[in-house]
């Protein structure tokens, strides 16, 4: 029965929301088939018997594809995969890149309206271009379709390790984490020369300065880079194995805690900067006499950003830690 549950877990993953009832009914059908096979054989089913039963249904991707209406020019399994890739690329990856890179750069430019309009036009063009490229790739796959799905083996299905109350890690969020993590790591490596927001604006030419920035780029450079790359590695692992929800929670608690610690330590080493940040919060128009306006704003902005990150990541660490411990406690109760 474990193999059946593992199979249905994968079918659920590929189906759009709203099919839970149908999968529950299908699960009961499969259990009836297993009961019938056991009665016929006069013994409990082995893993190999159950694997044979499931092979008849096809891979989870194929089974899910037969439930949801297929595209007229792709077979059901490829249709599911095509829709998934389109969702990730058009609704997650491109909008995220646009929102994080292009939009802030446009807003900080000399002519924000014109730049935003230009960025929007580029975004729409990128979406259309990506739609075309993804469609062409899938048409090619349909034409030269490898027989990978035919070699599918139920015994290699991911284990059923989702404790009650935990859902699989959404693949779209893993993809977004990988993209942002790599973008951040790339920028962090060369961040001594320019700001992240403004390749096309005047601010892009201003090198980041200030004691807090120097502190971050000094002793905290390597820990931040390692943390970002470790996050990318964990997201890649969760993309391949979405059922690692509990591991993801534990890692989230640890990495958020580490980030909160780094932010807190960097802020604590900059006591005057912290005080200036608090003064700025209390009285936004406040100015330090004689300070370079851009450097002052950068230092204060960075102070407030780090303070926000410190609080946000600390809350994230506590929430994820509690959810991780709750899932462990739930499993212990069930076992007892």
């Amino acid at each position: 029965m474990d193999l059946i549950e593992r199979y249905l877990q994968q079918v659920r993953f590929w189906l759009p929301a709203g099919h839970e009832d149908l999968v529950a009914e299908w699960a009961e059908d499969l259990r009836c088939q297993a009961d019938e096979a056991e009665a016929r054989l006069g013994r409990p089913l082995t893993e190999a018997d159950t694997a044979e039963l499931l092979k008849r249904l096809g891979s989870p991707l194929e089974a899910a594809g037969r439930i949801v209406p297929a595209s007229p020019w792709l077979d059901p399994a490829l249709t599911m995969l095509y829709r998934f890739v389109l969702k990730v690329v058009l609704l997650c990856a491109l909008p995220a890149v646009f929102a994080v890179l292009a939009l802030p750069a446009a807003l900080l430019s000399r002519h924000p309206l014109a730049e935003v309009a230009g960025a929007m036009e580029s975004f729409v063009n990128s979406e259309v271009y990506a739609l075309g490229v993804v469609t062409l790739v899938f048409l090619a796959l349909q034409h030269f379709r490898p027989r990978l799905l035919a070699q599918w083996d139920p015994r290699r299905l991911p284990p059923l390790s989702l404790p009650r109350g935990l859902k699989p890690v959404p693949r779209a969020s893993s993809v977004a984490e990988i993209i942002f993590g790599l973008l951040f790591a790339g920028w962090w490596i060369e961040a001594g020369t320019r700001l992240p927001v403004a390749w096309s604006s005047r601010l892009g030419a201003i090198p980041p300065t200030g004691p807090l920035w120097a502190e971050l780029r000094g002793i905290w450079f390597a820990p931040i880079l390692v943390l970002a790359l470790a996050n990318v590695a964990v997201a890649a692992l969760c993309l391949a194995r979405p059922h690692l929800s509990r591991f993801r929670l534990a890692w989230g608690a640890l990495s958020n805690g580490a980030m909160a610690g780094i932010c807190g330590a960097a802020l604590a080493s900059q006591d005057p900067g912290l005080q200036a940040g608090i003064r700025l919060l209390a009285k936004p128009g406040a100015w330090i006499p004689g300070a370079d306006p851009v450097s002052f704003l950068f230092q204060q902005g960075l102070t407030l950003l780090l303070a926000g990150m410190c609080v946000g990541t600390a809350i994230g660490a506590v929430v994820q830690g509690i959810r991780f411990l709750a899932s462990l406690a739930g499993e212990a109760r069930e076992t007892a």
């Binding site: 009961e28 249904l57 037969r66």
Partner: protein, 107 residues
């Protein structure tokens, strides 16, 4: 003869008559697995990924009613024909017989 082409046309032909067979079988209340077995025993095998979406569609059209009930310590979804479904089945049976007679004359 192209076997793949024949298989596609055969499935198309059977798909059209599957609704009629399902409605007729559900004059008696059944759950999914027993319905599938009954159809199979009558020479109309149908796979799970075809039957369950079809049952959802017929239910959303008001032709079937369903409820989850426990039987043998397991939850099962039982289906039965509604009054509208019974009327529809009567109409479809008349239509089916008409098509059969016409085809007999043509063939």
């Amino acid at each position: 003869m192209n076997p793949e082409c024949f298989e596609n046309l055969r499935l198309e032909l059977r798909r059209g008559s599957l609704v009629l067979a399902v409605l007729a079988e559900l004059r008696t209340e059944r759950y999914g697995y027993t319905l599938r077995k009954s159809l199979e025993d009558h020479g109309m095998p149908v796979d799970e990924s075809t039957l369950y979406p079809l049952l959802r569609r017929l239910e959303s059209q008001g032709l079937l009613a369903s409820e989850w009930r426990e039987e043998d310590k397991r939850n099962k979804r039982f289906y039965r024909l509604t009054d509208d479904g019974r009327d529809m089945l009567g109409q479809l049976v008349l239509e089916w017989r008409g098509i059969g007679q016409s085809l007999e004359q043509i063939l």
